[in-house]
């Protein structure tokens, strides 16, 4: 692989990976030696600095990670605080209510109920700490539920205290649509897997 292509591949890999990547892993994926990766990464980082790009590569021994240029931290902080502090969208509120009345529940089931992909909404609810998830041992993958913090904010001790919970949590329409798409949901989980990363940290 020529230097240009290798640089491009490294950028793509570091961009997508949320966690620090082992040099050896990058080398293996690109089919070149670790030293070539080290050289290329140094060259890349030099370019980022010289051209004042928005990125910078952080290296600690055998691990590398793509991050933002510290000079832009003012803008980045503004973005993060506005995202975290933003009001709940209508779809966020809907997903939240499904997690409240039907949780613990899988992403696939939430999507079956709403008929819309929910991966982004769920992720934003988790980052805001309103929803938590736990891993199951079976094929269902992750189960989502309302966080303890959010319950406290709502002034209840458990979801069962949500208005009309007993009745609404057993809603027939929801039971029916979930039963209808049972095989479909199972297949999706086994073939696709969760798009969300392992950790939100």
């Amino acid at each position: 692989m020529d230097s240009q292509k290798l640089k491009s591949a490294i950028e793509s890999l570091l961009f997508v990976s949320g966690e620090p990547m082992k040099l050896a892993k990058i080398a293996k994926i690109c089919g070149v030696s670790k030293n070539e990766i080290i050289d290329e990464i140094e060259r890349l980082n030099g370019e980022y600095q010289k051209e004042e790009r928005g990125f910078s590569i952080i290296r600690k021994e055998d691990l590398v990670q793509l991050a933002t240029n510290p000079l832009n931290s003012e803008f980045v902080n503004q973005l993060v605080s506005s995202e975290l502090g933003s009001e709940l969208s209508r779809s966020a509120l809907e997903v939240l209510s499904i997690v409240g009345y039907r949780g613990p529940i899988t992403r696939g089931q939430i999507e079956t109920i709403r008929g819309v992909n929910c991966s982004y909404v769920l992720r934003s609810l988790m980052i805001k700490g309103l929803v938590e998830r736990k891993e199951t041992a079976d094929i269902r993958g992750y189960l989502y539920e309302i966080s303890f913090d959010f319950l406290k904010t709502l002034g209840v001790t458990c979801v069962q205290e949500l208005p009309d919970w007993k009745n609404l949590s057993k809603n027939e329409k929801i039971q029916e649509i979930l039963a209808d798409s049972e095989p479909e949901t199972a297949a999706e989980i086994s073939s696709g897997g969760e798009k969300l990363p392992e950790t939100v940290s």
Binding site: G18, V80, L93, I127, F150, L154, P163, I177, V200
Partner: protein, 237 residues
């Protein structure tokens, strides 16, 4: 002869386009008439059509019958509304063909697998509890009720389509009735204005074609009497 018979088609346009493309024809009124028999035959056989799509197949069938009838009996009068329906169908098929071709190209692009990947939302940002303003338990209940109200259970689809079919069948009955009348008129007009026997024979053959199509039945009491044209007894469409 009828290789599409066993295939499952998603809709009438899908089927029509396939019949036309199979014979490497352009989408024209004349060519629609050519594939009319196959189209009607497919609906008669019926097996490949899902209940929820039957209404659409039947709806287009009424236009196909009209196109066919008109190609056999050019003197057949059709209303302005019917004419517009036929023109629209031609147009619709042409447009559908474009999107069908585009879908194929897009399928190939996806198969190539040159995907772009993005990062997850706020990846690397620490989760921090931020309570939403002005959301209480009753907002959650309200949102949940809205979610429930928007659920559409799949069973409803065929049920409502069946109701739709009933009205469409009535519509086709109507069409047949009016066709029969018009065929009768146009046969008489045709044969009375015919310059020679050849023209009468042509008109007669056209009528027989319609009999074959089960659109009309003919009745002749004795050899040289007038031929009566009747509505077909058996309705397949």
């Amino acid at each position: 002869m009828f290789s599409v018979q066993l295939e499952k088609f998603e809709g009438p346009l899908d089927l029509l386009l396939r019949l036309i493309e199979e014979q490497k024809l352009d989408i024209t009124r004349l060519n629609l008439a050519k594939v009319a028999d196959d189209y009607l035959e497919y609906i008669r056989a019926n097996e490949g059509i899902s209940l929820e799509n039957l209404a659409e197949f039947v709806n287009i069938a009424s236009r196909i019958i009209l196109i066919k009838s008109q190609s056999i009996l050019p003197t057949l009068e059709i209303t302005a509304e019917e004419e517009k329906e036929i023109v629209d169908l031609e147009q619709q098929l042409k447009e559908y063909q474009k999107f069908k071709n585009a879908a194929e190209k897009i399928g190939e692009m996806r198969k190539k697998g040159d995907f772009s990947f993005s990062r997850d939302y706020l990846l690397g940002v620490a989760a921090a509890y931020s309570a939403p303003k002005n959301v209480n338990i009753f907002d959650l209940k309200k949102a949940f009720l809205k979610v429930v109200s928007e659920i559409v259970l799949p069973e409803k689809i065929p049920e409502e389509s069946v109701r739709e079919i009933v009205t469409l069948e009535e519509k086709i009955e109507e069409l047949k009735k009016s066709l029969t009348q018009r065929v009768e008129t146009s046969f008489q007009a045709l044969s009375s204005s015919a310059k020679d026997k050849v023209e009468i024979i042509v008109a007669f053959l056209a009528m027989l074609e319609m009999v074959k199509q089960r659109l009309i039945d003919v009745e002749q009491n004795s050899l040289f009497e007038d031929i009566k044209i009747l509505k077909a007894e058996t309705s397949h469409v």
